[in-house]
Structures are given as C-alpha cells and as structure tokens.
C-alpha cells in the first residue's frame, strides 16, 4: 500500500519536498488500520525538521482534499496533504 504526500507553503519550504509517494507496506502489514497520526509519526522519523514541522500546533491535514483530524483512516492511493493555516483572499 502507498499514498501520496503533499506539502505546501512554509512546510514545503522547510522540508524541501512538495510531493512524494510514501510506501506503507511494512506498516500496513503490522496494523489493521492506519490513520493520519500514524503517518505523522512515520514521517517524523525522517529527522528533526520533519518532527518539528509535522507537530506544530496549527498544522492542517487534508485527506483527499478534505480537512480532517488525525484519527482519519488512510487507504491505498489516498492523497494526504500537510500545510499551515490558509491565508488566501
């Protein structure tokens, strides 16, 4: 199982990536259901910047273009985006 991760704005800049595929084969064998919190934990292992960026208090998570809480379940092929609060308009 794999999903697409997208990063925007200050997060994209801080982490130097805007979009990548995340392979979840190992994790999905171990647990029946994977949620957004699990993905955050997994990505936080990539280093201190990742841990800090993904655990800032105002972080927004959008799963398939809908803002969700960290308990939202993630499925094969999903698009999960992380970004700071919106400032358009």
């Amino acid at each position: 199982m794999s999903i697409t991760i997208k990063l925007f704005s200050a997060l994209r800049e801080a982490l130097g990536e805007s979009e990548f595929e995340l392979d979840l084969s190992d994790v999905s064998e171990a647990s029946a259901q994977i949620d957004v919190a699990a993905i955050k934990a997994l990505l936080s292992q990539r280093g201190a910047e990742w841990k800090e960026a993904l655990n800032q208090p105002n972080l927004v998570h959008a799963l398939n273009h809908n803002v969700v809480f960290t308990d939202a379940a993630v499925s094969e092929g999903d698009e999960l985006a992380f970004f700071p609060p919106m400032t358009g308009g």
Binding site: F8, A62, M86, G88
Partner: protein, 153 residues
C-alpha cells in the same frame, strides 16, 4: 455559478458583466481584494500566492454552492489568483446575485469569510527584508465563526 483559479489579473468589469448577464436579478453585490503596499509592520513590494489547485477548486465550489442555498442566489462567481502579484493588483473577486439586497451582500460577506480560512492559498510577502509567509489572523477565524453561531442571518 462558477469558480476560476487563474494567474492573470482579474478583469472586474468583464466578470461583473458576465455575472449579471442580460436580465439581472434585483440585487448584485461584489467584493474585490487587492494587494496592499504594506503589511502590519513593513512595506510589501510583491506578493506570491501558493495554492493547492484541486483542493482550492473543490473548497471554492462548495462554498459558492452553500452560499447560494443559504441566501437563494440566482448566480454567483468566485475568482482567485495564484502566482506572483504586484502591489495594487487584484487578488480575489466574488459576486452574488439575489432577489433582495441583504441576501446578495450577506452572500459576499460569507463567501469572503469562508474563503479566507478554508481555501488552501498561502500568501508570501516580499519586502525590503526578503520574503515572509503571512500568518493567519485570529480576526479571520472569528469572522468565520459568526456564520456558525447565528450572529449573522
């Protein structure tokens, strides 16, 4: 009843003419946002707008439809730019057509408040000291909350 995400400047007169058409409703309200030459504390020479295209389109279409249902709009339009914007350029334009003025004006108000907090756009201001991401405002979150609390009809 449509959304445009575009890098080109917004042609306000053309948007208005298309929104209203040949047989206008009774009441048309519009709002246009422009790039300011200053932020809270410093000068701004250029604005860069990053966006999440697929999600932005979906969010704006949903909020136009919600406003249309809530206020009985006969037409609405939301135009939002992305990319590099010079000072005094247009950023956003919303328009609403209704049978009565209160509905048209409230619909513009709602669309702008919701757009500010819910649509995935991020402003980066370019100034004398370099670029800086704009922080979101508590006042925007508060204005957004009015529409749920029943403070506004």
């Amino acid at each position: 009843m449509s959304v445009s995400l575009q890098s080109e400047a917004i042609d306000v007169a053309a948007e208005y003419a298309q929104l209203v058409g040949d047989s206008p409703g009774a009441a048309v309200a519009t709002f246009t946002g422009y790039v300011r030459n200053h932020s809270d504390a410093h000068a701004v020479t250029e604005l860069e707008l990053e966006h999440y295209p697929e999600m932005a389109r979906k969010v704006l279409e949903n909020l136009g439809q919600s406003a249309a249902e809530r206020f009985g709009l006969s037409n609405w339009r939301i135009v939002h730019r992305f990319g590099r914007l010079a000072v005094s350029e247009t950023i956003v334009w919303v328009g609403a057509v209704a049978d009565h003025r209160g509905e048209a004006i409230s619909a513009c108000d709602l669309m702008m408040d919701t757009l500010k907090t819910d649509a995935p756009f991020w402003k980066r201001e370019q100034g004398p000291a370099g670029g800086q991401w704009v922080a979101n405002r508590d006042s925007d979150t508060e204005r957004r909350a009015r529409w749920q609390s029943g403070d506004v009809q």
